[in-house]
């Protein structure tokens, strides 16, 4: 009942809404389960050196193409088998988490920061700021995502740093559009008017009054985009334009295993499953957030 009264009041406490949304989200067992799976990958990325049983990059031709443990010739020391250079696949997958998570998190952090600030400015200040930013966004949206990233990487060369930049250049457009729209929608709200009336500065109004109220859609868009970015990074790595060898990344592991897929199917299969599980988990979490935040689902 207290929730309902909070809703009916004209001035809504932003924290209350966000917190209620989060409580909604946490009440879904499915979402929470996949949130833990996602966090599991994060832990794996951070503690890779302690978790991985072997050095991911150390070749050993005597262990070449060992099959997973449940197949004939499998070895408990290498549960998921070894690749063509005799490197432990499990360890490489664990280390590969670092690349995926790092790129996913960093790209989204950069993109969200830029997108939120630019979106607030465009939506609240309007005028020429909005004009310039929106034109720029229209132009960036003129490029298919992967093409844009590939073109940039073709120019700058592969490597962790360049991949992050190549993606962030276009990725900020997504939060920008959401934040701009939401800002336009709430700019006339009572609490914004009230803040303006007591003489709050523009930056204060944008960051203190508007931003907390539009956190929910920002969170939804950044999670769903993170899943996207991770697939994109894997695709770039698969094409050989991602992180360069010998660093393990899931996409390049799949690519390396391709030529062996006739007999040694495990080389490509396991890293692919890792991508699938991580991306799926993030997508489920994102869907859960959306359901929890979208007021239409409460009726």
């Amino acid at each position: 009942m207290t929730d309902a009264t909070a809703d009916n009041g004209r001035v809504v406490q932003p924290e209350t809404i966000f917190r209620r949304n989060m409580r909604n989200f946490l009440s879904s067992k499915l979402s929470v389960f996949f949130l833990f799976v996602t966090l599991g990958f994060l832990v794996m990325a951070i503690f890779a050196p302690w978790i991985a049983p072997h050095d991911p990059n150390e070749p050993d031709l005597f262990r070449r193409l060992i099959p997973p443990v449940w197949m004939e010739g499998g070895d408990w020391s290498y549960p998921l088998g070894c690749d063509a250079l005799g490197r432990d696949i499990l360890s490489r997958i664990i280390y590969g988490t670092r690349v995926s998570i790092f790129i996913g998190v960093v790209v989204i952090l950069i993109a969200t920061t830029i997108g939120v600030l630019a979106g607030l400015a465009a939506g609240y200040l309007r005028g020429w700021v909005d004009g310039v930013l929106s034109r720029l966004v229209d132009i960036l949206l003129g490029f298919p995502y992967l093409i844009f990233a590939i073109a940039l990487i073709a120019m700058t060369g592969p490597g962790l740093h360049n991949i992050v930049l190549a993606m962030a250049y276009r990725e900020w457009v997504m939060p920008f559009r959401v934040v701009r729209g939401e800002t336009l929608a709430v700019a006339g709200a009572d609490y914004v008017e009230a803040a303006r009336a007591i003489g709050a500065s523009r930056s204060n109004i944008m960051l203190r009054e508007i931003l907390p109220n539009i956190l929910s859609p920002v969170l939804v868009v950044s999670t769903v985009r993170m899943a996207h970015v991770i697939i994109l990074e894997a695709s770039l790595s698969f094409l050989g334009l991602g992180v360069q060898p010998p660093t393990a990344s899931w996409g390049s592991m799949v690519a390396d295993g391709r030529s062996f897929m006739l007999n040694e199917w495990w080389l490509s299969t396991f890293p692919g499953i890792a991508i699938l599980i991580l991306v799926l988990s993030i997508n489920v979490v994102s869907q859960g957030l959306r359901d929890a935040f979208d007021p239409r689902f409460h009726d």
């Binding site: 720029l136 229209d138 003129g142 490029f143 120019m155 899943a227 094409l239 490509s268 699938l276």
Partner: protein, 335 residues
Amino acid sequence: MNVGKLIERLLQLIPVLLGVSVIVFVMMLVTPGDPVEIMLGDQHVTEEQEQALRHDMGLDLPPHERFFKFLSNAMTGDFGLSYYHRQPVTEVIASRLPATIELSLAALIFALLVSIPLGVLAAVRKNSILDRISTVTSLFGVSMPGFWFGILLILFFAVNLRWLPVSGRAGFSSEVEPITHLLLIDSLLRGRVDAFWDALKHIILPAITLGLPMASILMRVTRASMLDVLNCDYITFAEAKGLRKSQILIKHALRNALIPTVTVAALQTGSLLGGNMVVETVFGWPGLGRLVVESIFVRNYPLIQAAVLFYAVTYVMLNFLADILYTVLNPKVRL
């Protein structure tokens, strides 16, 4: 949709296309390495010959003049020579384009054929087993990396079951004399059913791989918009009129529910272009996407430049088309 409005929307494309060309041009400008050296490779030439080539390619001009030259050349379809193929870039691209168009169309058709019926059924039988299964499937569809899914398909259908070819675009169907350069259509036009089957067998797996994420997204869009529409008053009113259930579903509900589906489909066709590179690489499909990927490794910059511009222009046009479709389908916004 009146002509004035259409022209107005077309004019709005100009700044976008101009901006896109600037970006593509600047990308090339800041690319490290001297194009002349890349082009000459290991060939030994004199200083004068090198200068002459530089002049021919317009590389000795100041940047803004180079941009206008680039732009005016681009308008006439002149993107210079492909370093690698030693023939005009436009020709190289044109030779690869039909394969890409054919694959994209096949993926689009697959996505529409799967997503619309499933989306409608899922909405009509909301919360049924079918609804749950298709929701989970579509979640997998957007979470599955295309390159990996393609490999799995090859492993299963081509390697294990031997039903379909492992890669490539055509066996003997390539003998069919071209009309449209789309093998599936040409073989039918020439009455070569065997060649059609051959081309079809080759295209099935890549089309599914390319179309799967799109099918998943479209299924969700169709389901959601169908649910919205089914809640509309005009559906209740149609029921109150005593119309047949099929008539209500197809004529009244689907017609309106498809507006967002078609719009999103047009937008998503743009992202098929991006997916092409990965899928064409996995399936050895001789299209533009694979050409771009190959060009990156040999630093064939003019070709990359032209291809990126081509993709971007196509993408902008598809978005424009989506806009127009939305207007045409929706009598309420029809002006």
